[in-house]
C-alpha cells in the first residue's frame, strides 16, 4: 500500500504493509533518531509528534497516517539544540538514547501548557523513561529551557 504523509514538513509517499508500525517504517527510511525501546508503549523512546501531539510510533500503524503530519527530532532541530544546551548546563544527559523523544515531548508540552511547574513537567513526562539521569537534572533543565523565551 502507498501512504502519503508529511514527514518534518516534507511530503512523502511510503510503501508499507497494513501491519507496519511507524517506528519500523521510519527506520526503514533511515530516520534513525526514533529509537526502538520496549515496543509496548511504556518507555517513550519511540515518541514522534502526530499533528503536534506526542505518540508512541511503536504502536501506531503507518497505514492510518494518510495525509497526516509526523515530526521527528530532525523537524525541531533548533529547539532540540536549545534544550540540549540546558541539558548540558545541568549535566542532564548521559547516554543520550532518550534525548530525541524527550525533546519532542518537551516541545509538545511547551506548545500545550502555559507556565508549567516542576510537578506539571514531571506529570507530562512520566511516559518518557531515562535509565541514566534520575530525572532531577532533566526537570530543572527543562524548566530553564521553558523560561528562555529568546
Amino acid at each position: 500500500m502507498l501512504v502519503n504523509l508529511f514527514l518534518n514538513g516534507e511530503a512523502k509517499t511510503l510503501q508499507v504493509e497494513p501491519g507496519d508500525f511507524l517506528l519500523d517504517t521510519l527506520q526503514k527510511n533511515n530516520v534513525v533518531s526514533v529509537r526502538r525501546g520496549c515496543e509496548s508503549t511504556s518507555c517513550g523512546v519511540c515518541t514522534v509528534l502526530l499533528e503536534g501531539k506526542p505518540v508512541p510510533s511503536c504502536s501506531l500503524l503507518t497505514v492510518r497516517l494518510e495525509g497526516k503530519s509526523i515530526t521527528t527530532v530532525e523537524g525541531i532541530q533548533k529547539e532540540a539544540e536549545k534544550l540540549a544546551h540546558y541539558f548540558g548546563l545541568e549535566g542532564a544527559d548521559q547516554c543520550g538514547f532518550c534525548n530525541p523523544s524527550m525533546a519532542l515531548t518537551v516541545y509538545a508540552m511547551k506548545k500545550e501548557l502555559k507556565d508549567p511547574t516542576i510537578e506539571t513537567i514531571k506529570s507530562y513526562l512520566v511516559g518518557n523513561l531515562c535509565r541514566c539521569t534520575g530525572y532531577q537534572a532533566q526537570h530543572i533543565a527543562i524548566l530553564h529551557y521553558l523560561e528562555d523565551q529568546s
Partner: protein
Amino acid sequence: MEIRNYLVPKSLDEAIMVLNQSPDNHVFAGGAWIKNTLKKIDTAIELSTLIDSKIKEYPNYIEIGAMCTLHDLEESALLKQYFGGIIAKASQSIMGITVKNLATIGGTIVGKYSFSDLLTALLAIDVTLVFHSKGKLKLSTFLTTNYPVKDILLSIIIEKNQTLGYYHKVSRTSLDFAIINVAVTNNNNRYSIVVGARPGTAAFALSAMNYINQLKNITEQDIEKTCELAADELSFSSNFRGTKEYRKSLAFVYIKRGLKAVINHVS
C-alpha cells in the same frame, strides 16, 4: 502481529457489515493496545474518519465521542466539574502522555479490559453507551453481556447531576497497570461501589451497595460492614502484581476511604 487488509469504510453501515463478516475482522479506535491484544487481523477497519472525538455539553448531559482520547478526557475542564472529577482522575492515572494521545474512551469500553482504570470510574456513574445498531445501553449491561453480533460504539452519554465521586488507583509505579482501582459515588444518598483490576473487568459490589443504600443514618460500623460485604462478594485473583489476599485488603481500605469521602462530601 499480522494484518492482511486495511479498510477505510465510507459509512458506519459498511463498517458494521465488514466487521461481522469474519471473527478476524476488527475495528480500530486509538489502537494503543492492538499489539498486546491481537495477533492476527484479517481486515482492520478504520473508525477515525466516521466517529466524533469531541466532548460536548448539553443542558442535561455531556456527550463524549467514542474517539475522544484519554488525554482529552484528563484535560477536560467540563468533566472535572462533575462527579468529583473521577473521569479525569482515572484518565490521569493511565501511563504516559503518548499512550493517552492514542488510546480512546471507545476502545477502552469496547475492549472491556481487565486492567482498565477508566472503566471503573465510568461504571461508578453507570454511563449510557450509544451504539450504531443496538442503540442506547447502560455500561453495566454492556460489561456483563456477551453479544453475538459485533457493533460500533458512537458516543458516551453522562447525565449531569450532583453525584459526588471518589477514585483511587493502586499501582507499583506510575507507568504500571493497577493492582487494584476503586471508585465510589454518592448520588443523592444512593451509593455505588466499583472495583476494577482485581484483576478483572470493573464490577459493582452489589450486596454492599444494597446494604448501605437501605440505611437511613450511616454509622462507622455500617461503613465497616459495607466494606466487608464488598471485599467478600467480589472475586480477586493473584498475579505478578499482587496476591488475591493483598487485593482484597486494598479493596476494603479504599472502599472505606471512598465512602467516607463521598459521605462527608470530600471528593
